[in-house]
Amino acid sequence: MKGQKTLGLVSLVGVGACTIFALFVLPPDRLQGEVQRLLYIHVPIAWVAMLSFFMVFLMSLLYVVQRKLKWDLMALAAVEIGVLCTALTLVLGSIWAKPTWGVWWEWDPRITTTAILLIVYIGYLIVRSMSDDPDQRARWASVIGIIGFVQVPVVYLSVFWWRSLHQPPSSPRSMASAFGTVMLLSFVAYTVAFTYLMIRRYRLAQKELAIEMRGPEEAP
């Protein structure tokens, strides 16, 4: 419990420091101006989203092999973080894209694949809500967790080829060293925050499951 609190504190300080750096310390971008500061949140959150979905894949595989409910609960924790971060990635990206590219949405393979992933994992959460049996739920979810991840490269490739009819996708510019350092720090800070959220959500899921198994009357 003590370690968990420390981890929470570290995440808060880390993410807070990165935000302060991004908002007040770094100068505005020469080409994009103030709006570029969004990227210090957008990019690490996108990273956390991908990390979460990879965790879901791993936990689902572990569940299929070992059939222990703890893997399913961890997958659930990761999916919820992943869905939140994917939605945030898309929203922040849109806000950044409007002044920079002039449009809210671009059929870029990365953006399109991200949006498809969001739908897939919302589907994952809906499937979970459709069963009251923890084992059945875990089996359904693990299957979607595995297939949802396996299809990512094929989806990306197919959108990439479809897009290449029109124009090449935009590529990120290289960044000056100060920007790069803050970006690197953000990656570390957000990954720590991800770990903290994973642990908290997993503990909560354990308690929810315990209540579900015993019935609400006997719960503490």
Binding site: V64, I119, G123, V127, S131, R139, I147, V154, V159, W161
Partner: protein, 226 residues
């Protein structure tokens, strides 16, 4: 291996027999597909040149909508009669159930496509006949990809509440490579493949089919457990 195929073909035979006795499924599917083609024409307007340009996309969306309706029947008819439980009770590899149901879907969809392509050709004024060979290949690859993922998710959702909503919700995002690949390839074939992109789309479809077939077959026993 031969045991697996024998069991799968027994399931296929049973499903086809049930279908032949009533013919409810296939006639409903065909009417639905025709309606979808009409709805597209109404939505886009009587501009034949435009409809002809969009033909590839419209046909594949019609196939996928109709196929999804027929998929939800594949396991539901079993579920209603408690058949899934009986099928599972038989000894042997449960993958035979997936293979048998997959084969049944392929048969139904092939019948649908044999009628749908000429109908779309007439309605949208597209001539498919000169491109029959490549079109057959693309149709086979696209239909197989759709059927494998569709049969799999149909088995997954059969016990769930609100399965009619759940199946397309899970299925459509997983089908995006099939849609892009099949539509892309069909368009290239109809245009005579000016940019030489047909081979790429066919490879994409083929690799999707192989990857999803292997993964679905591997993991299928997990969703059948009780």
């Amino acid at each position: 291996m031969s045991d697996l195929l024998r069991r799968a073909s027994a399931i296929l035979r049973k499903d086809l027999l049930t279908e032949l006795r009533t013919r409810q499924g296939i006639s409903a599917m065909l009417s639905f597909a025709a309606l979808v083609l009409f709805l597209f024409s109404f939505a886009i307007g009587p501009n034949t040149a435009l409809l002809g340009q969009l033909a590839g996309g419209l046909i594949w969306v019609a196939i996928i909508f109709t196929g999804t309706l027929s998929l939800s029947r594949a396991f539901q008819t079993e579920e209603l009669a408690g058949g899934i439980r009986l099928l599972r009770a038989y000894p042997g590899d449960p993958r035979a159930i997936l293979l048998g149901k997959l084969a049944g879907n392929l048969v139904l969809l092939s019948i649908l496509e044999i009628l749908l392509f000429p109908a779309a050709g007439i309605l949208f004024q597209v001539d498919f006949l000169p491109h029959l060979g490549p079109l057959l290949l693309v149709a086979a690859l696209g239909t197989f990809g759709f059927s494998i993922v569709g049969t799999f998710f149909s088995a997954l959702t059969v016990h769930a509440r609100a399965r009619e909503l759940l199946l397309p919700l899970l299925l459509f995002p997983a089908l995006i490579p099939v849609v892009l690949g099949a539509v892309g390839a069909t368009d290239e074939i109809l245009k005579g493949d000016p940019l030489g992109r047909l081979a790429g789309w066919v490879q994409l479809l083929a690799s999707y089919d192989v990857i999803l077939f292997v993964v679905c077959l591997w993991i299928f026993p997990v969703i059948l457990e009780e």
